[in-house]
Amino acid sequence: MSSSAPSAAPPRQGGPRPSPPVVSLRSSRPRYGEKILYAGLVLAAGVSILTTVGIVLSLIFPAIRFFQEVSIGEFLTGTSWTPRFADKSYGVLPLITGTMWTTAIALAVSVPMGLGAAIYLSEYAAPRVRKTLKPVLELLAGVPSVVYGLFAVTFVGPVILQGVFGINVGTFSVLAAGLVLGVMIIPTVASLAEDAMSAVPRSLREASYGLGANRMRTVLRVVFPAAISGIAASIVLALSRAVGETMIVAMAAGGQARMVGSATEEGQTMTGFIAATAMGESVQGTLAYNTLFAVGLTLFVITLLINLISIKLVNKFREVY
């Protein structure tokens, strides 16, 4: 083996030379550009805080004016919502039941369908099949909600629900709106969940297969748990989209706020109410108009609560890496 002469002064060779002994370990370059970039990143991150502050401010002041006239108790527990009728009452529960129905129906459709599709695409489908089908499925999320709204009113309600299944729904129903809403958010669930499962290292799958686990068990017991945080995130996103979706429910769920007792009834959701009022005839600044912000604030708080619960859930379910 090569063993050189003891090196007091090693022979130098061509090419770049090693750095001479240092005097300082300070930056060799000032990197001002990087500092500016870094400041930019921090600012960009700060935008999300500003957005939240902006939302709260733009909702809270008109809402306060509303609650100066209507007690919070009446608002939260009243079962009648007729701010534009002569006999006014301001109980938000009808809007909330409407939202709950459409959301529950939508999730009942999108979570199983979306996760099923995600599992199939990430674990079963051949690469070429996945490459074709995934974008097709993603298209569902891209279909504008206005088009879905039309579809729900003109097709799902009258043709599918009444015609095919013989369900006695009117022109509007939370069922038709919820179903279509569910179809719309399938890719929200599927796409993120698939990404999360695909990100699970292959070595984990190999370990499982190497132990004699079949595909189904590998999927359910290794891949799925390993991807649970991404999967939970996908469901939360779906949930918040269902609660917050406006056009479909505005067009298909109904325009009348009422306590919704069953899926075949019509009912107005919180978002549907906001859209209607924003485009409506109410004089701005009046109590009737400020309902907009009271409902908007309620919607905001509800989605906030959903989200806090889901963050808790994610932490609980996640297996520590």
Partner: protein
């Protein structure tokens, strides 16, 4: 803003004459007036290609909010401006002029195959629609004894529409006074569908919608005290279709009026009122109304 101050070129002063005019005019307001204003804008722009007119439909209230903030030159309204809005404009220093542009007639419609509904009195309509009817007046015999005991199915516009405000005011005596157990929709097509699909259904909306769907629906005659009158242009204009006919307005910002394209557009709107209304299937101004409109323009300066 890019459009309210965007008068780069000077146009010929006066009525719509040639394509020398340029600039943009922002209008917003009632969704009832929207199609009429759109028709006027379209016809005007055909003759004046340099002018861009946008028509928003934020609702009469939303329109006034922007109007009184100086963001629009013209506000479309299906009702006269209200106290609160007057105050708003005043506070912002916006001076304006109301101009009457057309008429609307709320039309009460029933299914084509319905045999017993042809004419309703205002009292019967009230019985049918008043708040007290909620949950009690559920079959037709409750409205009038000789009607059959069939279930009532009602359709109406969303509570945030000017149509709702106007109908409840005229029939039930108070804006917003209405029974609550009916199907409400922002989309009048749904009312058309609902009534078409149910023999015992009844609904109401603007005359335009009826005109478009006259083959599918039956418009009811209304007895306002002087006998049954069917909704029609003439009946609306001469006031015999009472109390369900109403005037429609535009509000013009006096500052915007100094811009030649605005002046030209508003003048064009009033001068060609009959053609515009006919094209948009609205009810044109009567002679007196037209005179009044001209006076209102003169008041603008």
């Amino acid at each position: 803003g890019g459009q309210s101050g965007g008068t780069a070129t000077t146009g010929t002063d006066g009525a719509a004459a040639g394509g020398a005019l340029a600039g943009s005019i922002v209008t917003d307001g009632s969704s009832t007036v929207g199609p009429l204003a759109s028709a006027a804008a379209e016809l005007f722009m055909d003759a004046n290609t340099g002018v861009n007119i946008t028509v928003g439909t934020s609702g009469t209230g939303g329109g006034f909010k922007k109007f009184c903030a100086g963001q629009t030159a013209i506000s479309n309204a299906s009702r006269p401006i209200k106290e609160e809005e007057i105050a708003l404009c005043k506070a912002a220093g916006i001076e304006y002029q109301e101009v009457i542009v057309a008429n609307d007639a709320l039309t009460v419609v029933a299914n084509k195959d319905n045999s017993f509904l042809t004419c309703l009195t205002v009292e019967e309509l009230k019985k049918l629609w008043e708040p007290a009817a909620t949950g009690t007046v559920m079959t037709w015999d409750k409205v009038k004894a000789d009607f059959p005991s069939e279930p009532i199915k009602l359709y109406g516009p969303g509570t945030d529409s000017g149509t709702f405000d106007y109908f409840t005011d005229e029939i039930n005596g108070e804006e917003g006074a209405s029974r609550t157990d009916y199907s409400a929709s922002e989309d009048d097509n749904v009312i058309v569908q609902g009534v078409t699909g149910d023999k015992n259904a009844l609904g109401y909306f603007g005359f335009t919608y009826f005109e478009e769907n006259a083959d599918k629906l039956k418009a009811l005659e209304i007895d306002g005290g002087q006998g049954c009158v069917a909704p029609s242009s003439d009946a609306a204009r001469d006031g015999s279709y009472a109390p369900l006919s109403r005037p429609l307005f535009i509000y013009v910002d006096k500052k915007a009026w100094t811009r030649p394209e605005v002046k030209a557009f508003v003048t064009y709107f009033v001068d060609n009122d009959a053609a515009i209304a006919e094209a948009a299937k609205y009810i044109p101004l009567s002679e007196e109304q037209k005179t009044k409109a001209k006076e209102e323009i003169t008041a603008l300066g």
